[in-house]
Symmetry: C2
Subunit: 242 residues, 2 copies
DNA sequence: AAATCCATTTCGTGC
DNA sequence: GCACGAAGTGGATTT
C-alpha cells in the first residue's frame, strides 16, 4: 500500500476495516471511520454511549475524536499522545490508552460503513489576530490607551500571586497593575486582578499605593459592583483596533 | 441520490466535489472533505492559514471543523447554527456564516482528495459519571463527607454573588457555604468561594458567622495560602467513590 | 440575549 | 511533571 495514496473501503468487512485502520496507524496517516458503534470511556471520569452512527477520527499524534451529527465538541475523545490499536472481536474495536492519568477509550463497531486513511502534510501555522497578546502590544505602543501618563515598566511581572499582564506607574508615581481581557468580563477577572493588587501590596510591603486597572471591552453588572468594592478601575478597550 | 447511501468521491473534480457537498448539506448529511486548502476566519478575532492538507467536517447542525494531522482541537471552526454553502471558483470553496456575532469562515481547496457524505442517525445520549454534580449527590446522601454534623439546607442557593453549590449549617449552627470542584484547584476557586462567603455575610447582614469550605481532590500551594488568608476550610474529596 | 459557571475543558508557557 | 491562565474557549442553565 503506497503511503501516497488514500486508502478507502466502503462497507468493509470488519477484517478489512481493521487492516485499513492498522495500516493507517502504522504509516502515520489520518484515519476516519464511520459506522454504528458503542463507546466506553474510563479515566478522570467515566462514560457510556449506546450504539449509534458516528464519525471517529484517529490522528497520527494519538488523538481520538468521536463525533455525532451535532455539536462542535466530540461526544468522546482522547488527547494527543495516546496509544491506539484496532482489533476484530465481534466487530471492529478501537482502543486508545493513556497513562498519567490512566485513561481508556473503547469504540466497538457493529458495522463499519466507511473507513479512510489519508496521508497528511501540513507545515503551516495558524496566524491569529485579536488575542489578549495583541491588546498588550497595542497598549505598549500607546500607553495612553490605558490612561494619560501611564508608563509601562514590565510585562508578565511576577508577584506572589502570579504574573501581572502589565505593570507600570501612573502620572502620580503610584504602582499600577493592568489586567487584560479580550472579551466582556465577569467577577472572576475582577477577583484575579484583586489577587494581583493584594499580592503586590504585600510584596512591596511599603506604604506604596497600588492601583488595579481592568482593561476589557466591557463588564457585567456584578463585575462592576465587585470592582467598585475593591476600589479597582476599568478601562474599555477592544482587542481589534476596529 | 438516495439518502440511505453514503456518497463518496475520490479525487473528484471541483464540480463533482461541490455536488456531493451541496447534496450532503441539502439532505442533512454529515460531510467530510479531505484535501489541500487555505482557511480564512473573520469574526471575534481573525486568522489565516496557508495551504496544507486538512480534514473538514460539516455537520447538519451548521458546525464546521477544520482538523490538521495533530491536536485535539480543530485549527479553525464554526459553531452549530451557522449557514453553510459550497461553490466552485478556482476550486471548491466552502463558506460558513454566523450572525451575532458576525463571523465568517472560508475554506478554499486547491485540490480535493476525498469527499464523503454520510447519513447519520444517533438517538443516544452520553451517560457520564464523575462530574461535580455527582460529588454534590454524594455529599447530600452523606453530609459527614464534608464534616461531622454538617447539615445541607439548600443547593444552588442564590446570593448576590451567584449561586452557592451547597448551603447548610455546621454543628454549632454557623452558616456554611460549600464550593465543589471535581479536580485539583488553584487560586481562582478560592476567590470564587470567598466571593460567595462575603456576599452571604452581606446578604444576611446579621451577626451570623459564615464559614466557607472548599471541597476538591486537592489544592495547589498558592490556593492553600489564599484559603488560609481568607480563613476558609478545605476538605479533600474525589468525584468518584474511588 | 445576557450572565454565570462547569468541563474527561484543551492549549501554551514557564519553572 | 506541575502550575497558572488564555481561549475565536464550548456547553448548560437560568433569568
Amino acid at each position: 500500500m503506497s503511503a501516497r495514496e488514500t486508502l478507502t473501503a466502503t462497507l468493509p468487512s470488519h477484517g478489512r476495516a481493521q487492516e485499513v485502520v492498522e495500516a493507517g496507524l502504522d504509516e502515520g496517516l489520518l484515519v476516519t471511520v464511520f459506522g454504528r458503534c458503542r463507546v466506553e470511556y474510563e479515566g478522570r471520569a467515566s462514560s457510556t454511549l449506546e450504539a449509534g452512527d458516528r464519525l471517529v477520527v484517529l490522528k497520527p499524534d494519538g488523538t481520538v475524536l468521536v463525533h455525532t451529527e451535532e455539536g462542535q465538541q466530540p461526544v468522546n475523545w482522547q488527547p494527543p499522545g495516546c496509544t491506539q490499536d484496532a482489533v476484530v472481536d465481534d466487530g471492529l474495536v478501537i482502543h486508545s490508552h493513556r497513562e498519567s492519568p490512566d485513561e481508556e477509550l473503547t469504540v466497538e463497531f457493529d458495522s463499519v460503513r466507511h473507513v479512510v486513511a489519508y496521508n497528511v502534510t501540513d507545515e503551516q501555522d495558524l496566524s491569529l489576530q485579536g488575542t489578549e497578546s495583541d491588546m498588550r502590544e497595542r497598549i505598549l505602543s500607546d500607553p495612553s490607551l490605558v490612561e494619560d501618563g501611564f508608563e509601562p515598566r514590565a510585562t508578565e511581572r511576577e508577584t506572589s500571586a502570579g504574573a501581572v499582564d502589565i505593570y507600570g506607574v501612573d502620572d502620580t508615581g503610584d504602582a499600577v497593575v493592568v489586567e487584560l481581557k479580550r472579551r466582556r468580563v465577569g467577577p472572576d477577572a475582577v477577583s484575579q486582578l484583586n489577587r494581583y493588587v493584594d499580592a503586590l501590596k504585600r510584596d512591596l510591603h511599603a506604604e506604596m499605593h497600588v492601583r488595579g486597572i481592568l482593561v476589557a471591552p466591557s463588564l457585567t453588572d456584578s463585575a462592576h459592583h465587585l470592582l467598585d468594592r475593591h476600589g479597582l478601575d476599568f478601562v474599555s478597550l477592544s482587542p481589534a483596533p476596529q
